[in-house]
Amino acid sequence: MSGGVSKVLVIGSGPITIGQAAEFDYSGSQACRSLSEEGVEVILVNSNPATIMTDVETADRVYIEPLTVEFLTRVIARERPQGLLATLGGQTGLNLAVALAEGGVLEEYGVKLLGTPLEAIRQAEDRELFKEAMRVFGEPVPESVVATSVEEARAFAARTGFPVVIRPAYTLGGTGGGIAPDARSLDEIAARGLAVSRIHQVLVERSVAGWKEIEYEVMRDRLDTCITVCNMENLDPMGVHTGDSVVIAPSQTLSDREYQMLRSASLRIIRGLGIEGGCNIQFALDPASTRYYVIEVNPRVSRSSALASKATGYPIARVAAKIALGRTLDEIRNAVTGETFACFEPALDYCVVKIPRWPFDKFPYVDRRLGTQMQATGEAMAIGRSVEEALLKALRSLDQQVDGLDYPPAAAWSREALRQRIAEPCDERLFAIAEGLRRGMLPQEIADLSHMDLFFVNKIANIVGMQLGLRGRRDPETLRAAKRLGLPDTAIARAWETTADAVRAIRGREGIGPVYKIVDTCAGEFPAQTPYFYSTYAREDEVPESPRRRVVVLGSGPIRIGQGIEFDYSSVHAVKALRDAGLDAVLINNNPETVSTDFDVASRLYVEPLTVEDVLNVVERERADGVIVQVGGQTGLNLAGPLAERGVPVLGTTVEGLDASEDRGKFDALLRRLDIARPAGGAVRSVAEGRALADRLGFPLLVRPSYVLGGRGMEIVATADELVRYLESAFAADREHPVLIDTYVEGTEVEVDAISDGDAVFLPGIMEHIERAGVHSGDSIAVFPAQHLGPDEADQVVDATVAIARALGVRGFLNIQFVVKDGRVYVLEANLRSSRTIPFVSKAAGAPLVRLAVHVMLGRTLADLGYPGVTRLPAPARVSVKAPVFSSEKMAQLDVLLGPEMTSTGEVMGQNSSLPGALYRALVAAGIEMPEQQQRALLASIADRDKADAVGLIRRFVDLGFTVYATDDTAKYLADHGVHAIHVSKNGDPETALRLVHERAVNLVLNTPTRGRTPGRAGFALRRAAFERHLPCFTSLDTAEAFLDVLTAIKAGEIPAPHAAMEVSPL
């Protein structure tokens, strides 16, 4: 049935970036399993170690290699697969497949592109071919024209009518464009757009802003059978990227006529394109007629299809993989019912709401408005039996200190600020709408302003109304109604001026509790075996009894900067370990993109918010024997205390132990007792206290708020002025918590991930960071095993780890970050949970860390598991390097410079026998271009404190044939120190430094910042320009040095020249 294909290459999607996240780990691993089921040998290539996909069990052979044509060609040459599956690795996988096909690689090695043909991919991807294809199929696309003069733009608008969108050609992020509602603004915007366009062109298109945005997920097999898995409606109308929209499935405001009209169009399109597999089609639908336009077709599995899979229970990736092998929809069993076939359309008897998770809380200075460029890093999904219930659950799943539509900052918004947030899409829009309703705005007024369908505004009004009504009524029936609407106990407690526990107690007395229903793809029409549940307040509970012991695993929720896919990796492995131990693994998570929320991963999956109430409900319903809090990142860990207080057995390290590691004072005392050094410091509650402490410690200092995730708001301050400024703004934002001030020890940062049972300690090895301490560990390049650590230093690290593990009574994970300076080891922080580096270390060391940790949490000792005492694994044969990947080009105002605040969204891994070889792979995988031998040039703009260190480095670049350009002071300093640099002006007119970058006259930029992340400064503009032109921009001299080492090794012939791949070998 596999069309003679017995060996298939699957391309993954690489590092997590905004717009391409964990959904492709989910779809990729599902596809690999699906192919294996068909008896096909699976070869996988992906550069992202933090994936289940790159586990050796997922495929027959896994290559963690850069996703470039060169490396893939090597893999193909070595493995000689007969088929290539490219539609499951996101845009990256698709682009690579096209490149491999167009480059003749597939033909040369006789590799067949499976599933959707190349021509269909081209038709969907190329704007002109797409328009032509839609014309042939009789499907409307918004009319558009390329105009080179205001007159041409005017003529177009005269034909199609207003409004029109004007987009200047070749500017990033649509700068200079806009929507013209009338002739006068058209003239203005077109003139401006033509002026800013480098080629003096604007695209003028009929605007469908304000129309409904509807998506369909469609599948087709080789016999031309087509089905739609589901449709989805965006609450935000056209104009906001669907990845940044609040989405509901199925559509709520479409009549059957409209639903079927777009469904029929979807089928015509997938048939017309000849797609074999899945695709996603986006439509704009006029809210006041049956007119529609086709906006976009994704000829592959996408983020939307991951959402559709989780929303319906229909495993799109699994089915798409089988279709690619030539199987037909009517042959593939529906894994949910086990009785029916993949050839049907899921019927839902609930609704699903997805809300994006944006990184604006970490980047307060960034414009929070939403548009056509996706900015969300992740998303949360919730299932409910009403729109209100699903919406409220999704909001509290975001894990952003909101439990619904109450948003404390909203009360302070002026009328204008409020109306602007309603009218212009932004991350706070739902809260603004709720606030508007509270202030007495009419739903119709809000619908008019926002173009959100009145139906949805009324749903929000229902919630607001219920909350207002609660204040006056405290009877059980009101409580029952509030719970049915989806309000959490915390919100009810606020209205009743009591505690959530008190509300819970009343609910207990009155018998008001949730039931759990099954997601079964068929609305109850057939018996289903899926262990996939959601809560609701209704009559019947469907959770079957289980004779086995049950352990609840808390997942990590939506992906955000600082808490990414690494934590889902650990959750999935925890679940596997529990199941292998013969227990029922009950997983709670709400991230639709992940492997963990695939319904056949856990014994039982609950898609629920990760709050005290929602978790307690599941724990009680399951009568769970314990809860694992150590794998769900900070989300899981934060729940440990509240759960333990309410009598829930927390497995592994006790809550007291966890607290001792998180509480500054307790941890300091512990280290003192153990005689382990840490940078001197303290907690201050006022500016005066801060100044006094600084006087004692001296500068530079590391300052940060207490109790935060991902280094949020952390800075290095070098002067008293900077300190005062920091403290003033920190206390203005948060009076409650102290600010932590530490001596900044500028040494080598090393990190340990260990497992302990409170006595024995298992250490897979020590990781070393390329960038010196001060750069957030999530943004550093990490090397495993450490290459520059002396035996004595390594012993100190191990001894400290063992001492801390024993002192804290660690049962499970222990991650410690150290800084090593002048032979002395200081502890920076300890995290008693699965860390960001667990997947990387697991793969680099070949050690099943999560499995060991889970067994320890279940009560076994490391000695039982074969590791008595202190175990240090011998160094592996290969050096592994983890490099961060940033999504900076997605956020127009985001500065990307390495510092204590984490900004990267993903990571890649490179492995080789030598450090430069591993670095080379990691850098290439991270998208850093290696400059060719000829015409090498760099631009340097160096902060004063780094100038001395930079001279030597830049000299090495010169030795490698680089022409050096340098800005004002830097050029002078270099000249004074005998390095010839061409002087370019930084702030002058014209800004020559910027021009060099814009014109890509240099291969890389070396820019260490003076201070601050204020947009508008020259350094910021330079870094932005570098990212927009895809030039490597090093903001730490350490990174630049690593890069130099790679170039040196290339020159010495130790590793291949740029644009050549090294020999590949599987994990």
């Binding site: 016999l223 199925p250 009549s255 079927q260 029929s264 039996r385 009324n458 229903k517 019947e540």
Partner: protein, 370 residues
């Protein structure tokens, strides 16, 4: 106001009354269609039944009358999870609750419809009633037990046209035996130019022959086909004398006319997502279904007809054809409404069978497009 749904097996579900006061009884069924409650309400095949919508949010886009499948709603009662009080749609003229009230149909909202669906699925369809009366639960259950079995009622007679309706068209003249036809079927034929004569269900073979149509379409309709010996007999007399196209109940009538038997499904097929395989092409269509009875495949073997379509879920017969004569049937709804329009090609196949080209060859027939 409170309403209750009472089943003959003693199950009671209390919720909010929507629509008319009082009570109404019937066979309690469910459909899994997520959209198209207007079409469901007005589908004559639901005559005699209390319909439960498995999808919980009903009435979101209001009621416009644009999507009416007949002149009035036919359900006896309507059961939903949540009835939208504040619908919104450019075509909406009324709400679900107001519409039910206007047509004197009692409805109930705010109950666990998934429980009900699962209950009916596992225990079989039940007689039941929706009531707003202030009487004890036991009284409602007792009354439910006195309701007539759906198989004993003349449901077709209640929904068929009382008089011949002529809908003129430029194409072939068609007779349509109305056992409870939906507007979508008439529209599917008229869009292809047919000159449609809608005939009362008791019309005789002779009357049809006198009309001299190019073919006869037997419509869907409510109830048990066993109760329609008259219609079966007329079909037998017309056998081979003109092309026949049976849809849903019409398919069952033709099956019975050929000598096959029909049986009652445990809980019927009602929804917009039933996969049906065309045994000739191998292609599968997602279809709209609304039937409680089916043609017994074993009994088809002894007839002149051959099975052409099969349901992928439970393997039941979904279509029949005569190897020589111009006779085709489908158990499902090529007109959708609600539901997919994938099977509208069957109207073209029927036109072909009539020997007539579709009125507008190749033109899309499903919908308006921008």
């Amino acid at each position: 106001m409170q309403a209750r749904l009472a089943l003959e097996d003693g199950t009671i579900l209390a919720g909010r009354a929507i629509g008319a006061r009082g009570w109404a009884g019937g066979e309690v069924v469910f459909t899994t269609a997520m959209t198209g409650y207007e079409e469901v309400l007005s589908d004559p095949s639901y005559n005699g039944q209390i319909v439960t919508m498995a999808y919980p949010l009903i009435g979101n886009y209001g009621v416009s009358g644009e999507a009416w499948e007949s002149f009035r709603p036919h359900v006896e009662g309507f059961v939903v999870g949540e009835a939208a009080d504040l619908p919104h749609h450019w075509q909406a003229e009324s709400t679900l609750a107001a519409t039910l009230a206007r047509w004197e149909i009692p409805g109930i909202a705010g109950i666990d419809t998934r429980f009900l669906v699962r209950h009916l699925r596992s225990h079989g369809l039940k007689r039941g009633l929706v009531s707003t009366e202030d009487v004890p639960d036991e009284a409602l259950v007792a009354r439910a037990r006195t309701l007539a079995d759906i198989g004993t009622l003349d449901l077709v007679g209640e929904v068929s046209t009382p008089a011949v309706r002529h809908l003129a068209g430029p194409g072939p003249k068609l007779a349509l035996l109305d056992c409870g036809v939906k507007a979508g079927i008439i529209e599917g034929l008229r869009r292809r130019g047919c000159d449609v004569w809608v005939l009362p269900h008791r019309t005789t073979a002779e009357e049809i022959l006198d009309l001299a149509p190019a073919g006869l379409v037997l419509s869907p309709g409510p109830g048990d086909p066993q109760r329609l010996p008259h219609q079966v007999a007329q079909v037998q007399r017309l056998w081979g004398r003109m092309p026949l196209f049976g849809i849903c109940l019409g398919h069952q009538i033709i099956g019975r006319a050929a000598g096959a038997t029909t049986f009652k499904l445990p809980y019927g097929h009602r929804g917009s997502n039933h996969p049906v395989k065309d045994l000739v092409t191998g292609r599968v269509c997602v279809t709209t279904q609304n039937h409680g009875y089916a043609v017994d495949e074993a009994s088809v073997a002894g007839t002149e007809l051959a099975v052409t379509h099969r349901n992928l879920n439970d393997g039941t017969v979904e279509g029949l054809r005569h190897p020589r004569l111009a006779i085709m049937t489908v158990q499902y709804h090529p007109e959708g409404r609600p539901g997919p329009l994938d099977s509208s090609y069957l109207f073209d196949a029927w036109m072909e069978m009539l020997g007539a080209a579709p009125h507008e060859p190749g033109a899309p027939v499903e919908s308006a497009r921008a």
